[in-house]
Protein backbone atom coordinates (compact mmCIF):
# COMPACT_ATOMS: atom_id res chain seq x y z
CA UNK A 1 0.00 0.00 0.00
CA UNK A 2 2.65 2.51 0.99
CA UNK A 3 4.64 1.90 -2.17
CA UNK A 4 1.57 2.70 -4.30
CA UNK A 5 1.18 6.04 -2.48
CA UNK A 6 4.89 6.83 -2.85
CA UNK A 7 4.91 5.98 -6.57
CA UNK A 8 1.86 8.20 -7.17
CA UNK A 9 3.57 11.08 -5.35
CA UNK A 10 6.67 10.51 -7.51
CA UNK A 11 4.58 10.84 -10.67
CA UNK A 12 2.99 14.05 -9.36
CA UNK A 13 6.42 15.54 -8.59
CA UNK A 14 7.77 14.56 -12.04
CA UNK A 15 4.84 16.29 -13.79
CA UNK A 16 5.33 19.39 -11.62
CA UNK A 17 9.01 19.52 -12.64
CA UNK A 18 7.99 19.46 -16.33
CA UNK A 19 5.60 22.37 -15.86
CA UNK A 20 7.77 24.74 -13.75
CA UNK A 21 9.77 27.57 -15.27
CA UNK A 22 11.58 28.78 -12.16
CA UNK A 23 14.76 26.69 -11.83
CA UNK A 24 15.01 27.19 -8.04
CA UNK A 25 11.62 25.49 -7.54
CA UNK A 26 12.64 22.75 -9.99
CA UNK A 27 15.73 21.96 -7.92
CA UNK A 28 13.74 21.87 -4.67
CA UNK A 29 11.29 19.47 -6.34
CA UNK A 30 14.25 17.35 -7.45
CA UNK A 31 15.34 17.11 -3.80
CA UNK A 32 11.83 15.97 -2.85
CA UNK A 33 11.95 13.44 -5.71
CA UNK A 34 15.20 12.00 -4.33
CA UNK A 35 13.79 11.77 -0.80
CA UNK A 36 10.59 10.06 -2.01
CA UNK A 37 12.60 7.50 -3.98
CA UNK A 38 14.75 6.85 -0.87
CA UNK A 39 11.56 6.17 1.13
CA UNK A 40 10.37 3.87 -1.68
CA UNK A 41 13.64 1.95 -1.52
CA UNK A 42 13.14 1.41 2.23
CA UNK A 43 9.65 0.05 1.49
CA UNK A 44 11.29 -2.35 -1.00
CA UNK A 45 13.74 -3.67 1.67
CA UNK A 46 16.74 -2.05 -0.06
CA UNK A 47 18.20 -0.28 2.96
CA UNK A 48 21.76 0.25 1.65
CA UNK A 49 20.42 1.76 -1.57
CA UNK A 50 18.00 4.01 0.35
CA UNK A 51 20.85 5.30 2.51
CA UNK A 52 22.97 6.12 -0.55
CA UNK A 53 20.08 7.71 -2.47
CA UNK A 54 19.13 9.91 0.51
CA UNK A 55 22.71 11.07 1.00
CA UNK A 56 23.62 11.51 -2.68
CA UNK A 57 20.36 12.23 -4.49
CA UNK A 58 18.63 14.37 -1.89
CA UNK A 59 21.79 15.90 -0.43
CA UNK A 60 24.83 16.44 -2.62
CA UNK A 61 23.05 16.58 -5.99
CA UNK A 62 20.61 19.31 -4.88
CA UNK A 63 23.48 21.28 -3.40
CA UNK A 64 25.62 21.13 -6.55
CA UNK A 65 22.84 22.19 -8.92
CA UNK A 66 21.88 25.07 -6.57
CA UNK A 67 25.50 26.21 -6.58
CA UNK A 68 25.50 26.17 -10.39
CA UNK A 69 22.33 28.23 -10.80
CA UNK A 70 23.85 30.99 -8.68
CA UNK A 71 26.32 31.29 -11.57
CA UNK A 72 24.07 30.67 -14.56
CA UNK A 73 20.72 32.29 -13.80
CA UNK A 74 17.49 31.33 -12.23
CA UNK A 75 14.75 31.21 -14.81
CA UNK A 76 14.16 29.35 -18.02
CA UNK A 77 13.05 30.86 -21.33
CA UNK A 78 9.65 29.73 -22.55
CA UNK A 79 9.78 27.82 -25.82
CA UNK A 80 8.19 29.68 -28.70
CA UNK A 81 7.08 26.60 -30.62
CA UNK A 82 4.84 23.79 -29.38
CA UNK A 83 6.88 20.58 -28.88
CA UNK A 84 4.36 18.31 -30.60
CA UNK A 85 6.95 16.05 -32.24
CA UNK A 86 8.68 15.45 -28.89
CA UNK A 87 5.34 14.51 -27.31
CA UNK A 88 4.59 12.03 -30.11
CA UNK A 89 8.03 10.38 -29.80
CA UNK A 90 7.64 10.11 -26.02
CA UNK A 91 4.16 8.59 -26.19
CA UNK A 92 5.22 6.09 -28.85
CA UNK A 93 8.31 5.00 -26.89
CA UNK A 94 6.24 4.74 -23.69
CA UNK A 95 3.66 2.55 -25.41
CA UNK A 96 6.40 0.22 -26.72
CA UNK A 97 7.94 -0.04 -23.23
CA UNK A 98 4.60 -0.84 -21.59
CA UNK A 99 4.02 -3.53 -24.21
CA UNK A 100 7.43 -4.89 -23.23
CA UNK A 101 6.58 -5.08 -19.54
CA UNK A 102 3.52 -7.25 -20.14
CA UNK A 103 5.78 -10.32 -20.30
CA UNK A 104 7.55 -9.66 -17.03
CA UNK A 105 7.04 -11.86 -13.94
CA UNK A 106 4.64 -10.38 -11.41
CA UNK A 107 6.03 -8.01 -8.79
CA UNK A 108 7.36 -9.84 -5.73
CA UNK A 109 7.19 -13.40 -7.00
CA UNK A 110 9.77 -15.65 -5.37
CA UNK A 111 10.23 -17.93 -8.40
CA UNK A 112 11.11 -15.21 -10.90
CA UNK A 113 14.23 -16.05 -12.96
CA UNK A 114 16.13 -13.23 -11.27
CA UNK A 115 15.99 -15.04 -7.91
CA UNK A 116 17.11 -18.44 -9.12
CA UNK A 117 20.63 -18.39 -10.50
CA UNK A 118 23.36 -16.42 -8.76
CA UNK A 119 21.41 -14.84 -5.88
CA UNK A 120 20.82 -18.02 -3.79
CA UNK A 121 24.55 -18.82 -4.01
CA UNK A 122 25.40 -15.35 -2.66
CA UNK A 123 22.78 -15.51 0.11
CA UNK A 124 23.70 -19.05 1.23
CA UNK A 125 27.45 -18.79 0.80
CA UNK A 126 28.00 -15.37 2.34
CA UNK A 127 28.28 -16.45 5.98
CA UNK A 128 30.63 -19.42 5.45
CA UNK A 129 32.88 -17.92 2.80
CA UNK A 130 33.11 -14.30 3.93
CA UNK A 131 31.60 -14.18 7.39
CA UNK A 132 29.91 -10.77 7.50
CA UNK A 133 26.15 -10.40 8.04
CA UNK A 134 25.46 -7.68 5.46
CA UNK A 135 25.09 -9.60 2.18
CA UNK A 136 25.12 -6.43 0.07
CA UNK A 137 28.55 -5.45 1.44
CA UNK A 138 29.90 -8.95 0.90
CA UNK A 139 28.70 -9.00 -2.72
CA UNK A 140 29.93 -5.43 -3.35
CA UNK A 141 33.34 -5.85 -1.74
CA UNK A 142 34.24 -9.45 -2.37
CA UNK A 143 32.17 -11.31 -4.94
CA UNK A 144 31.93 -8.31 -7.31
CA UNK A 145 35.01 -6.36 -6.24
CA UNK A 146 36.03 -5.71 -9.83
CA UNK A 147 32.85 -3.73 -10.59
CA UNK A 148 33.40 -1.62 -7.47
CA UNK A 149 36.97 -0.97 -8.61
CA UNK A 150 35.64 0.40 -11.90
CA UNK A 151 33.21 2.60 -9.99
CA UNK A 152 35.96 4.10 -7.82
CA UNK A 153 38.02 4.86 -10.92
CA UNK A 154 34.99 6.55 -12.52
CA UNK A 155 34.53 8.81 -9.47
CA UNK A 156 38.21 9.67 -9.51
CA UNK A 157 38.04 10.50 -13.23
CA UNK A 158 35.04 12.78 -12.65
CA UNK A 159 37.03 14.61 -9.97
CA UNK A 160 39.95 15.07 -12.39
CA UNK A 161 37.53 16.28 -15.09
CA UNK A 162 35.97 18.89 -12.83
CA UNK A 163 39.43 20.05 -11.75
CA UNK A 164 40.53 20.36 -15.38
CA UNK A 165 37.46 22.41 -16.33
CA UNK A 166 37.05 24.66 -13.33
CA UNK A 167 40.26 25.06 -11.36
CA UNK A 168 41.45 28.58 -10.64
CA UNK A 169 44.91 29.48 -9.33
CA UNK A 170 44.27 31.11 -5.92
CA UNK A 171 45.59 34.64 -5.69
CA UNK A 172 48.09 35.32 -2.84
CA UNK A 173 46.32 38.45 -1.58
CA UNK A 174 43.27 36.41 -0.56
CA UNK A 175 45.01 34.90 2.47
CA UNK A 176 45.56 38.35 3.98
CA UNK A 177 41.84 39.15 3.81
CA UNK A 178 40.69 36.16 5.86
CA UNK A 179 40.70 37.45 9.45
CA UNK A 180 38.87 40.77 8.88
CA UNK A 181 36.18 39.06 6.72
CA UNK A 182 35.65 36.39 9.38
CA UNK A 183 35.10 38.92 12.16
CA UNK A 184 32.66 41.07 10.22
CA UNK A 185 30.62 38.04 9.19
CA UNK A 186 30.55 36.61 12.72
CA UNK A 187 27.83 38.97 13.96
CA UNK A 188 25.62 38.27 10.97
CA UNK A 189 25.84 34.47 11.03
CA UNK A 190 26.19 33.96 14.79
CA UNK A 191 23.44 31.42 15.48
CA UNK A 192 24.20 29.08 12.63
CA UNK A 193 27.96 29.27 13.14
CA UNK A 194 27.60 28.24 16.79
CA UNK A 195 25.20 25.41 15.94
CA UNK A 196 27.51 24.18 13.17
CA UNK A 197 30.48 24.12 15.52
CA UNK A 198 28.43 22.03 17.95
CA UNK A 199 27.25 19.62 15.24
CA UNK A 200 30.40 19.16 13.18
CA UNK A 201 32.20 16.59 15.41
CA UNK A 202 29.04 14.48 15.57
CA UNK A 203 28.63 14.44 11.79
CA UNK A 204 32.26 13.38 11.31
CA UNK A 205 31.91 10.71 14.00
CA UNK A 206 28.75 9.44 12.33
CA UNK A 207 30.62 9.19 9.02
CA UNK A 208 33.30 7.02 10.65
CA UNK A 209 30.60 4.89 12.32
CA UNK A 210 28.86 4.28 8.99
CA UNK A 211 32.20 3.38 7.37
CA UNK A 212 33.12 0.68 9.85
CA UNK A 213 29.62 -0.57 10.67
CA UNK A 214 28.94 -1.34 7.00
CA UNK A 215 29.71 -5.02 7.61
CA UNK A 216 26.83 -5.44 10.08
CA UNK A 217 24.13 -3.06 8.93
CA UNK A 218 23.45 -0.65 6.09
CA UNK A 219 26.48 1.47 5.35
CA UNK A 220 29.90 1.16 3.82
CA UNK A 221 32.45 3.30 2.04
CA UNK A 222 30.21 5.33 -0.29
CA UNK A 223 27.73 6.57 2.27
CA UNK A 224 30.52 7.36 4.74
CA UNK A 225 32.47 9.35 2.15
CA UNK A 226 29.41 11.41 1.20
CA UNK A 227 28.53 12.20 4.85
CA UNK A 228 32.13 13.20 5.61
CA UNK A 229 32.25 15.54 2.62
CA UNK A 230 28.84 17.00 3.60
CA UNK A 231 30.33 18.07 6.95
CA UNK A 232 33.28 19.77 5.23
CA UNK A 233 30.95 21.46 2.71
CA UNK A 234 28.84 22.82 5.59
CA UNK A 235 31.95 24.29 7.16
CA UNK A 236 33.03 25.83 3.84
CA UNK A 237 29.65 27.44 3.23
CA UNK A 238 29.62 29.16 6.61
CA UNK A 239 33.23 30.18 7.14
CA UNK A 240 34.32 31.04 3.60
CA UNK A 241 36.30 29.22 0.95
CA UNK A 242 39.68 30.69 1.96
CA UNK A 243 39.37 29.57 5.58
CA UNK A 244 38.28 26.11 4.47
CA UNK A 245 41.24 25.90 2.07
CA UNK A 246 43.55 26.68 4.99
CA UNK A 247 41.89 24.02 7.14
CA UNK A 248 41.91 21.37 4.41
CA UNK A 249 44.83 21.94 2.10
CA UNK A 250 43.59 21.19 -1.42
CA UNK A 251 46.74 19.40 -2.54
CA UNK A 252 46.48 17.04 0.45
CA UNK A 253 42.85 16.29 -0.46
CA UNK A 254 43.84 15.54 -4.07
CA UNK A 255 46.59 13.26 -2.78
CA UNK A 256 44.12 11.37 -0.59
CA UNK A 257 41.79 10.87 -3.56
CA UNK A 258 44.60 9.27 -5.56
CA UNK A 259 45.78 7.20 -2.59
CA UNK A 260 42.27 5.72 -2.16
CA UNK A 261 42.28 4.33 -5.70
CA UNK A 262 45.87 3.17 -5.26
CA UNK A 263 45.02 1.33 -2.01
CA UNK A 264 42.18 -0.47 -3.75
CA UNK A 265 44.39 -1.55 -6.65
CA UNK A 266 47.22 -2.58 -4.33
CA UNK A 267 44.97 -5.02 -2.45
CA UNK A 268 44.37 -6.77 -5.77
CA UNK A 269 48.06 -6.76 -6.69
CA UNK A 270 49.05 -8.12 -3.27
CA UNK A 271 46.61 -11.03 -3.75
CA UNK A 272 48.26 -11.69 -7.12
CA UNK A 273 51.72 -11.66 -5.52
CA UNK A 274 50.56 -14.07 -2.82
CA UNK A 275 49.51 -16.66 -5.39
CA UNK A 276 45.77 -16.13 -5.80
CA UNK A 277 43.69 -14.40 -8.45
CA UNK A 278 43.25 -10.62 -8.72
CA UNK A 279 41.05 -9.50 -5.75
CA UNK A 280 41.04 -13.00 -4.26
CA UNK A 281 41.15 -12.16 -0.55
CA UNK A 282 41.51 -15.75 0.65
CA UNK A 283 45.30 -15.57 0.23
CA UNK A 284 45.79 -12.35 2.21
CA UNK A 285 46.10 -14.15 5.54
CA UNK A 286 46.51 -17.67 6.94
CA UNK A 287 42.79 -18.19 7.53
CA UNK A 288 40.60 -17.55 4.43
CA UNK A 289 37.76 -15.89 6.38
CA UNK A 290 40.21 -13.57 8.18
CA UNK A 291 41.72 -12.75 4.79
CA UNK A 292 38.28 -11.85 3.48
CA UNK A 293 37.65 -9.58 6.48
CA UNK A 294 40.98 -7.82 5.94
CA UNK A 295 40.34 -7.38 2.22
CA UNK A 296 36.84 -5.96 2.73
CA UNK A 297 38.10 -3.55 5.41
CA UNK A 298 40.93 -2.22 3.25
CA UNK A 299 38.93 -1.67 0.10
CA UNK A 300 36.02 -0.03 1.93
CA UNK A 301 38.57 2.33 3.46
CA UNK A 302 39.94 3.10 -0.03
CA UNK A 303 36.44 3.74 -1.38
CA UNK A 304 35.56 6.03 1.55
CA UNK A 305 38.74 8.10 1.15
CA UNK A 306 38.29 8.56 -2.60
CA UNK A 307 34.58 9.44 -2.46
CA UNK A 308 35.03 11.98 0.35
CA UNK A 309 38.02 13.66 -1.30
CA UNK A 310 36.42 13.84 -4.75
CA UNK A 311 33.21 15.39 -3.39
CA UNK A 312 35.28 18.00 -1.50
CA UNK A 313 37.36 18.71 -4.63
CA UNK A 314 34.22 19.16 -6.75
CA UNK A 315 32.68 21.59 -4.25
CA UNK A 316 35.89 23.58 -3.88
CA UNK A 317 36.24 23.87 -7.68
CA UNK A 318 32.68 25.16 -8.17
CA UNK A 319 32.96 27.61 -5.27
CA UNK A 320 36.37 28.84 -6.40
CA UNK A 321 35.06 29.45 -9.94
CA UNK A 322 32.13 31.42 -8.56
CA UNK A 323 34.48 33.60 -6.50
CA UNK A 324 36.63 34.24 -9.58
CA UNK A 325 33.53 35.29 -11.58
CA UNK A 326 32.40 37.65 -8.83
CA UNK A 327 35.88 39.15 -8.49
CA UNK A 328 36.06 39.76 -12.27
CA UNK A 329 32.62 41.40 -12.23
CA UNK A 330 33.69 43.65 -9.34
CA UNK A 331 36.91 44.66 -11.14
CA UNK A 332 34.96 45.39 -14.38
CA UNK A 333 32.48 47.59 -12.49
CA UNK A 334 35.28 49.53 -10.83
CA UNK A 335 37.00 50.07 -14.23
CA UNK A 336 33.73 51.33 -15.74
CA UNK A 337 33.21 53.76 -12.86
CA UNK A 338 36.77 55.08 -13.02
CA UNK A 339 36.58 55.56 -16.81
CA UNK A 340 33.23 57.46 -16.48
Amino acid sequence: MIDIVLLTLLMVVAFAIIKMKDLFSVIMLLGIYGLLSASFFVAMDAVDVAFTEAAVGAGISTLLILLVITMTGRSENTTRHKPLLALLVVVFTGALLIYGTLDMPYFGSADAPINNHVAPRYINGSMEEIGIPNIVTSVLASYRAFDTFGEVVVIFTAGIGVLALLSVVPRPEDSKKITPVNDSMHEQYLVIRVVTKILLPFILLFALYVQFHGDFGPGGGFQAGVIFSAAIILYTMLFGLNTARKVMNQSVVQLIAAMGVLLYACVGVVSLLNGGNFFDYNVLSNDPVAGQHLGVLLIEWGVGCTVASVMIIIFFSFAGRREMQQHNKYVDNKDQESSL
Partner: protein, 130 residues
Amino acid sequence: MIMDLFNYWVVVVLMMSGFYIVIAHGNLIKKMVGLTIFQTSVFIFYISMAKVEGGTAPILAESISQHSNPLPHVLILTAIVVGIATTALGLALVVRIKESYGSIEEEDIQQLDEQAQVESEQKTANGNQV
Protein backbone atom coordinates in the same frame (compact mmCIF):
# COMPACT_ATOMS: atom_id res chain seq x y z
CA MET B 1 -2.84 -7.54 -13.22
CA ILE B 2 -2.71 -3.78 -12.81
CA MET B 3 -1.55 -4.08 -9.22
CA ASP B 4 1.02 -6.72 -10.08
CA LEU B 5 2.65 -4.68 -12.83
CA PHE B 6 1.84 -1.21 -11.41
CA ASN B 7 5.42 -0.56 -10.34
CA TYR B 8 6.78 -1.14 -13.82
CA TRP B 9 4.20 1.08 -15.51
CA VAL B 10 4.95 3.93 -13.10
CA VAL B 11 8.63 3.46 -13.95
CA VAL B 12 7.81 3.78 -17.67
CA VAL B 13 5.83 6.99 -17.00
CA LEU B 14 8.72 8.51 -14.99
CA MET B 15 11.25 7.47 -17.62
CA MET B 16 9.21 9.09 -20.36
CA SER B 17 8.77 12.34 -18.41
CA GLY B 18 12.54 12.54 -17.93
CA PHE B 19 13.03 11.80 -21.65
CA TYR B 20 10.51 14.49 -22.59
CA ILE B 21 12.34 17.10 -20.49
CA VAL B 22 15.63 16.26 -22.22
CA ILE B 23 14.31 16.56 -25.78
CA ALA B 24 11.70 19.32 -25.44
CA HIS B 25 13.23 21.91 -23.09
CA GLY B 26 16.08 24.13 -24.22
CA ASN B 27 17.67 25.15 -20.91
CA LEU B 28 20.77 23.07 -20.18
CA ILE B 29 20.13 22.87 -16.42
CA LYS B 30 16.59 21.63 -17.07
CA LYS B 31 18.05 18.92 -19.31
CA MET B 32 20.40 17.80 -16.50
CA VAL B 33 17.39 17.61 -14.16
CA GLY B 34 15.55 15.51 -16.75
CA LEU B 35 18.51 13.12 -16.96
CA THR B 36 18.49 12.75 -13.17
CA ILE B 37 14.77 11.89 -13.21
CA PHE B 38 15.44 9.29 -15.93
CA GLN B 39 18.29 7.72 -13.91
CA THR B 40 16.29 7.49 -10.70
CA SER B 41 13.38 5.83 -12.52
CA VAL B 42 15.76 3.09 -13.76
CA PHE B 43 16.92 2.57 -10.15
CA ILE B 44 13.28 2.15 -9.07
CA PHE B 45 12.84 -0.44 -11.83
CA TYR B 46 15.75 -2.60 -10.68
CA ILE B 47 14.86 -2.39 -6.99
CA SER B 48 11.23 -3.33 -7.75
CA MET B 49 12.48 -6.40 -9.56
CA ALA B 50 14.58 -7.41 -6.56
CA LYS B 51 11.78 -7.44 -4.01
CA VAL B 52 10.57 -10.86 -2.86
CA GLU B 53 7.15 -11.03 -1.20
CA GLY B 54 7.52 -11.89 2.48
CA GLY B 55 11.26 -11.29 2.45
CA THR B 56 13.25 -8.74 4.42
CA ALA B 57 16.39 -6.71 3.91
CA PRO B 58 19.40 -8.81 2.81
CA ILE B 59 21.14 -8.76 6.21
CA LEU B 60 21.66 -12.12 7.88
CA ALA B 61 19.99 -12.45 11.28
CA GLU B 62 18.90 -15.46 13.31
CA SER B 63 15.14 -15.37 12.92
CA ILE B 64 14.93 -14.51 9.20
CA SER B 65 14.58 -17.16 6.52
CA GLN B 66 13.59 -15.28 3.35
CA HIS B 67 15.68 -12.39 1.98
CA SER B 68 15.23 -10.01 -0.91
CA ASN B 69 17.62 -10.42 -3.78
CA PRO B 70 20.88 -8.53 -2.99
CA LEU B 71 22.39 -8.45 -6.46
CA PRO B 72 20.35 -5.55 -7.94
CA HIS B 73 21.04 -3.58 -4.74
CA VAL B 74 24.76 -3.80 -5.46
CA LEU B 75 24.35 -2.75 -9.10
CA ILE B 76 22.17 0.24 -8.16
CA LEU B 77 24.59 1.32 -5.41
CA THR B 78 27.28 1.60 -8.08
CA ALA B 79 24.89 3.33 -10.48
CA ILE B 80 23.85 6.03 -7.99
CA VAL B 81 27.43 7.09 -7.32
CA VAL B 82 28.39 7.00 -11.01
CA GLY B 83 25.29 9.12 -11.71
CA ILE B 84 26.36 11.87 -9.33
CA ALA B 85 29.88 11.83 -10.81
CA THR B 86 28.58 12.36 -14.35
CA THR B 87 26.10 15.01 -13.14
CA ALA B 88 28.95 16.94 -11.51
CA LEU B 89 30.98 16.79 -14.73
CA GLY B 90 27.97 17.91 -16.80
CA LEU B 91 27.38 20.86 -14.47
CA ALA B 92 31.05 21.89 -14.79
CA LEU B 93 30.61 21.92 -18.58
CA VAL B 94 27.44 24.06 -18.20
CA VAL B 95 29.40 26.61 -16.13
CA ARG B 96 32.08 26.87 -18.81
CA ILE B 97 29.47 27.16 -21.59
CA LYS B 98 27.85 30.04 -19.71
CA GLU B 99 31.22 31.79 -19.43
CA SER B 100 32.00 31.38 -23.16
CA TYR B 101 28.59 32.03 -24.75
CA GLY B 102 26.86 34.16 -22.11
CA SER B 103 23.70 32.04 -22.14
CA ILE B 104 22.63 28.47 -21.42
CA GLU B 105 19.61 28.32 -23.72
CA GLU B 106 20.10 25.91 -26.61
CA GLU B 107 18.67 28.29 -29.25
CA ASP B 108 20.95 31.18 -28.23
CA ILE B 109 24.02 28.94 -28.31
CA GLN B 110 23.14 27.63 -31.78
CA GLN B 111 22.55 31.20 -33.03
CA LEU B 112 25.92 32.40 -31.69
CA ASP B 113 27.66 29.39 -33.28
CA GLU B 114 26.08 30.08 -36.67
CA GLN B 115 27.01 33.77 -36.46
CA ALA B 116 30.61 32.91 -35.60
CA GLN B 117 30.77 30.44 -38.51
CA VAL B 118 29.36 33.01 -40.99
CA GLU B 119 31.85 35.63 -39.79
CA SER B 120 34.82 33.28 -40.13
CA GLU B 121 33.72 32.33 -43.66
CA GLN B 122 33.49 36.01 -44.59
CA LYS B 123 36.97 36.63 -43.22
CA THR B 124 38.51 33.80 -45.25
CA ALA B 125 36.65 35.04 -48.35
CA ASN B 126 38.06 38.56 -47.81
CA GLY B 127 41.53 37.11 -47.17
CA ASN B 128 41.38 35.18 -50.49
CA GLN B 129 40.30 38.27 -52.40
CA VAL B 130 43.14 40.40 -51.00
